[in-house]
């Protein structure tokens, strides 16, 4: 029995934190309401904040829709709603609160009240300590991004629209790939 090596792969390629501003999305709370689903775990304002944050982490671009369309916040909300891990649940409440606290410090307004540039500035500050988080907001960024990544790349949008994954199909004839000569 073996561990799939693929699961151990970790990219260390230098990436840059110069994210583009997400295209003007509808207000998150409105989006949730539009979807007709009330959050199960988060309060409506918390859910709106999470939805916006996730979509800033993985935004819609010319290639594929982002985390909002993929329903990332809805998935996280569902998992937390049935979780038996009260520590983890508490970390989400306090983490989202830390985002607003940071935004208040920087811009004297809650995150969702900020302009796109101000929101980006808050998230950039949260992400600055990604490798070695120290502040509550930096710790929360790790948690937020980890869940967003898992939820997005396991979603229909992530697998098909973004990754354009070709597998999980019946190969009736020759197998894909190259012969070992």
């Amino acid at each position: 029995m073996t561990v799939t090596r693929r699961e151990m792969l970790a990219a260390t390629a230098a990436a840059l934190a110069a994210p583009l501003v997400a295209p003007g999305a509808a207000k998150a709370a409105e989006a949730a309401r539009a979807a007709g689903v009330a959050p199960k775990f988060f309060t409506a304002p918390e859910f709106a904040l999470l939805d916006e944050l996730s979509d800033l982490i993985i935004p819609t671009d010319a290639h594929s829709p982002g985390a909002r369309v993929a329903g990332v916040a809805t998935y996280i909300d569902f998992r937390l709603s049935e979780s038996l891990d009260t520590d983890q649940q508490a970390k989400w409440h306090s983490g989202l609160a830390a985002v607003d606290t940071l935004s208040q410090e920087l811009h004297r307004k809650a995150f969702l009240q900020g302009t796109p540039e101000q929101r980006l500035a808050v998230l950039t500050k949260m992400a600055a300590g990604e490798k070695d988080p120290k502040t509550p907001a930096e710790h929360f960024f790790q948690q937020l991004k980890g869940w967003t990544v898992r939820a997005y790349y396991s979603s229909k949008v992530g697998i098909h629209a973004d990754q354009q994954y070709k597998g999980n199909v019946y190969q009736r004839g020759e197998y894909a790939g190259y012969d070992a000569k």
Binding site: M1, T2, V3, T4, R5, R6, E7, M8, L9, A10, A11, T12, A13, A15, A17, A18, P19, L20, A22, L56, I57, I58, P59, D61, H63, Y75, F78, R79, E82, L84, D85, A127, E130, K131, K145, V149, R150, A151, Y153, S154, S155, K156, I159, D162, Q163, Q164, Y165, K166, G167, N168, V169, Y170, Q171, R172, Y175, A176, G177, Y178, D179, A180
Partner: protein, 600 residues
């Protein structure tokens, strides 16, 4: 579509008043093979399996091989209350790992491989199955077919570099057989169960009778070509999977390259990958000679006071808690390397005060396996930004056979290791977890690099040492009140040196192929991680230093056989399942012959 729709055969009625020709404890690779060979020879066999029975439809519903992550409410995770042990937990604590856990159910680390919901009813609940002693990641599956339901499928032969390893380097013991003795049985296993691969003509990794091979990615072809110049080989994963189909087996489909087996902890709901129920047990039941009793946890080999021979098995019906006896003329243990040793040690009687078959005191000792963890990850630059291709529609990536201490002699360690690896696009871009930043640039970075990585990890031989052993814990008992195993087992200096070399050699091979090494792992995973535990009742010619003869027959009790990995004299570095089955075939053929002659 050739999906398997054949219903499982009806089981014979269990009759515990009857004395069966043979009772087999365990239904995995070894037990299944024993049932196959003995029933084909016309012997009436009772098989006891500790776990439950999933029939062919139930196991399919359990594995759900083609289910998309987003069609599962938790993307493959088990419901709240289930927990899979992490490397950290195995590292910071000693077993029993589930003791005091606040989770309702605790599974071994295998549950953590992207799909705990698919194995939550296959892996044992660690809460019910404690063990003690030194750190050990013991992975167990209790259900019909055992671990073959989710095994890793790498099906390799051993060679005389393994069977005659002592002759080669002076360490340990030679096996009482040579490659020529087992080769015909490897051939039979290949033909009966199906195996896919490419012939390489290597003396240290003999070829099988292969069905069509799986393919390589372009990066793997590049490494293969480069390695040729170094005298090394990268070959497509030799998978215990039927890629062309098996006309003689109505329960198994050929492989359609769905890749399901490598996305999850394993399992194949069309049974193209070998599993014991569809490959061996159902066909055995069709002979009318196999009776199956599940939920039957053996705790003693019963002994005839007058003859000293084994007369059956004492077991607990795990559904009712009742203690029962199964009577048989021959007793065959195939409960796994560690469970068979436990059962022999539990079987204490006036005749056998140290446990049955243990006059040598070697039962539980010379316990060995494979060490793993170290490896390297490379970035294949020319793949960055390439459009996605179908790379994971296969039961495994590639294998790089052992190249150390064949003709050369390493200064720091003896024996060798092989690499398992993979590359290309998968269903989840694993690099996303390690890519820093956020936003459109992050998203593009992940997309561009998704198929550009190649990784390899070593599997090395752990030397068989008398001082690495298991015994019974004097106090701890499992859910059914049966004393548990206690581990006294640690990797030694040879393994640690070998692991250091894995990283060096892995780097060297990727760099020689022009691939940037972007990550190295030098951490050795907890003992047990490879799930290749071996030894504990080794074969040999000397009854003072071995437990079994070359036919896996007890030196002490002639109608007792142990046909699983317990019998292996050394671990080799090749994955053991195919050897377990070839050996069991050979031994059971001998057993049936002796039985007919009245010699047992």
């Amino acid at each position: 579509m050739t999906l398997v729709k054949t219903p499982p055969p009806l089981s014979q009625e269990v009759d515990l008043s009857k004395t069966y020709d043979a009772v087999v404890v365990g239904s995995g690779a070894a037990g299944g093979m024993a049932a196959h060979v003995l029933t084909e020879q016309g012997m009436d066999v009772l098989m006891l399996e500790a776990g439950k029975k999933f029939d062919i439809n139930q196991i399919g519903q359990e594995l759900r091989s083609m289910q998309w992550p987003y069609d599962h409410p938790r993307r493959g995770d088990a419901p709240p209350g289930y927990h899979s042990l992490s490397f950290n937990e195995y590292t910071v604590r000693n077993p029993p790992y589930a003791k005091g856990s606040t989770f309702k159910h605790v599974m071994s680390y295998v549950g953590g491989w992207g799909g705990s919901d698919y194995v939550k009813n296959i892996l044992v609940d660690e809460k019910d199955h404690p063990y003690t002693g030194t750190k050990y990641a013991w992975v167990r599956a209790r259900l019909l077919g055992g671990k073959t339901n989710i095994w890793g499928r790498l099906a390799l032969r051993l060679s005389d570099y393994d069977f005659k390893a002592k002759t080669h380097d002076g360490y340990g013991e030679d096996w009482p057989i040579a490659y020529a003795d087992i080769e015909p049985y490897y051939d039979r296993v290949d033909r009966y169960l199906g195996i896919s691969g490419v012939k390489e003509n290597l003396p240290h990794l003999p070829d099988s009778l292969f069905q069509r091979p799986n393919k390589l990615t372009s990066a793997e072809v590049k490494v293969r070509e480069s390695l040729k110049k170094m005298g090394r080989v990268l070959t497509p994963y030799r998978a215990g999977v039927t890629t062309d189909g098996l006309k003689h087996n109505k329960y198994r489909s050929k492989c359609y390259g769905r890749g399901a087996c490598d996305r999850r902890p394993g399992g194949c709901d069309i049974h193209a990958a070998f599993d014991s129920p569809t490959g061996l047990i159902y066909p055995s039941m069709d002979t009318g000679h196999l009776t199956l009793r599940t939920n039957s946890t053996a705790h003693e080999v019963l002994v005839d006071k007058n003859t000293g021979k084994a007369r059956g098995i004492g077991f607990v019906d795990t559904a009712t808690g009742k203690s029962l006896e199964a009577k048989a003329k021959v007793v065959i243990l195939a409960a796994s390397t560690l469970e068979s040793a436990r059962l022999m040690l539990l079987s204490r009687s006036p005749q056998y005060p140290n446990g049955i078959g243990n006059s040598s005191g070697h039962v539980g000792h010379n316990f060995c396996e494979h060490v793993m963890g170290p490896g390297v990850t490379g970035l294949v630059k020319e793949m960055v930004g390439k459009p996605p291709t179908l790379d994971d529609g296969r039961p495994g990536g590639f294998y790089i056979p052992r190249f150390r201490n064949l003709k050369d002699k390493q200064p720091d360690f003896i024996r060798g290791y092989g690499f398992e690896g993979g590359s290309g696009f998968g269903i989840f871009p694993g690099s996303a977890n390690g890519t820093p930043g956020f936003g459109a640039q992050f998203k593009k970075e992940v997309r561009d690099h998704a198929g550009a990585f190649i990784g390899l990890g070593g599997f090395g031989e752990v030397l068989a040492r008398y001082e690495n052993y298991v015994d019974l814990d004097p106090d701890e008992k499992d859910h059914w009140g049966i004393p548990t195993l206690r581990f006294h087992y640690q990797f030694g200096d040879n393994e640690k040196k070998m692991c250091q070399d894995m990283v060096v050699a892995g780097r060297e091979m990727l760099e020689a192929a022009g691939i940037d090494v972007i990550g190295t792992d030098d951490q050795i995973l907890t003992e047990g991680w490879s799930i290749h535990e071996l030894g504990t009742s080794r074969m040999g010619t000397d009854p003072k230093t071995s437990v079994l003869n070359q036919f896996q027959q007890s030196h002490d009790v002639k109608n007792l056989f142990v046909v699983d990995g317990s019998s292996h004299v050394s671990a080799s570095c090749q994955n053991p399942t195919w050897t377990i089955m070839a050996l069991a075939w050979r031994s059971c053929e001998y057993l049936a012959g002796e039985f007919k002659k009245g010699n047992l």
